[in-house]
């Protein structure tokens, strides 16, 4: 359900930018989705395919770049990719608060 709203928001951003750049059609759309954003790439793709019908992006492919939140342990001086907000360092158990992971943006699109 949520992905449908996101797909619609994405669609209006695409249409607006396609118009601004005078594009006849959109071929590819690249977005960045954080692994803590609550958005599931596959269901977003599914909803995108619904939302794109009879728009300038009707033939567009959606490329989802999933990025991870990271955490840094000060004790071990190492950086980890994580999929949780609260996280224990796998080496020493220290509790760390990750950063990033909430990305949700339209990176670029290929048009003609």
């Amino acid at each position: 359900m949520h992905e449908l709203s996101i797909a619609e928001s994405l669609m209006s951003l695409i249409v607006e930018n396609a118009r601004k750049s005078g594009a006849r059609s959109v071929i590819k759309v690249s977005i960045v989705v954080g692994n803590l954003s609550g958005i599931v790439g596959d269901s977003l793709k599914f909803c995108f395919d619904e939302a794109k019908r009879s728009t300038v992006a009707k033939d567009a492919e959606l490329v989802v770049d999933e990025v991870s939140a990271t955490a840094y342990c000060v004790k071990c001086e190492t950086q980890f990719a994580v999929d949780q907000y609260v996280f224990n360092c796998p080496d020493c158990g220290e509790v760390v608060i990750p950063s990033g992971g909430q990305e949700l943006y339209l990176k670029d699109m290929e048009v003609e």
Partner: protein, 219 residues
């Protein structure tokens, strides 16, 4: 020939633009606005009704009720003394969006002191949609168990305030309210926490005191 155009814009930009406009309008009117979010049935409407019973005689409170369908909650809130109530049926959508609030608020009377938005019961989607509110409040019910903060961190982190409701059931559930508090603070250490039983009235005073302080500040 195809070409690539760089965009680098938030997908929720459109909502954010409307939210910024709303926030400006609310602050121009010195109107305190809170957005209450929770899972279905955590007690938003009950807390709202009890709040209205106590504050409505002194404070001019408007309510926006977000619901997937039905106007049951809006009716209860109206009876409890809200100065103005508008129901937004989201038609299946799992959250309110800024544009819905903007449209609904068009019909609001002048002179409201406080606007309370009851979002659609859902712990995931509403957190991503800024409604132009001054404060986001998440309501967690003890009956939902202690794992909610870690399961729905997005919501707990999007909010500045947490109301732990249904505290009257702590002994039945064998859950310590302070354990819920700890779990929530682990996910968001900046949360300010209220503990209430909307049905018994326990803990309501701190909550009401906070709302009144918002009205005095007008934000």
């Amino acid at each position: 020939m195809s070409r690539t155009i760089k965009i680098e814009k938030s997908i929720l930009e459109k909502n954010d633009v409307v939210a910024v406009r709303l926030r400006k309008m609310f602050s121009g009117r010195k109107l305190a606005v809170i957005n209450i979010m929770s899972s279905p049935g955590a007690g938003k409407t009950t807390l709202l009704v009890e709040t209205l019973k106590r504050l409505a005689p002194r404070i001019y409170i408007g309510v926006i009720e977000g619901d997937i369908a039905t106007d049951h909650d809006a009716k209860k809130v109206e009876q409890a003394g809200a100065a103005w109530v508008v129901q937004i049926n989201t038609g299946g959508r799992c959250h309110l969006e800024a544009s819905m609030v903007e449209k609904a608020f068009n019909g609001a009377p002048d002179g409201l002191d406080l606007l309370i938005i009851e979002n659609v019961g859902n712990l995931v989607c509403p957190s991503g949609f800024d409604l132009g509110e001054g404060h986001r409040v998440m309501l967690g019910a003890l009956t939902e168990g202690l794992d909610k903060p870690k399961k729905y961190p997005g919501m707990f982190r999007a909010c500045g305030y947490l109301v732990i409701n249904k505290t009257d059931l702590a002994s039945v559930l064998n859950i310590d309210v302070s354990d819920y508090e700890k779990e929530a603070l682990a996910v968001n250490p900046d949360l300010k926490i209220f503990k209430t039983s909307a049905t018994s009235g326990d803990g309501m005073d701190e909550w009401l005191g906070w709302l009144e302080s918002l009205v005095i500040k007008g934000e």
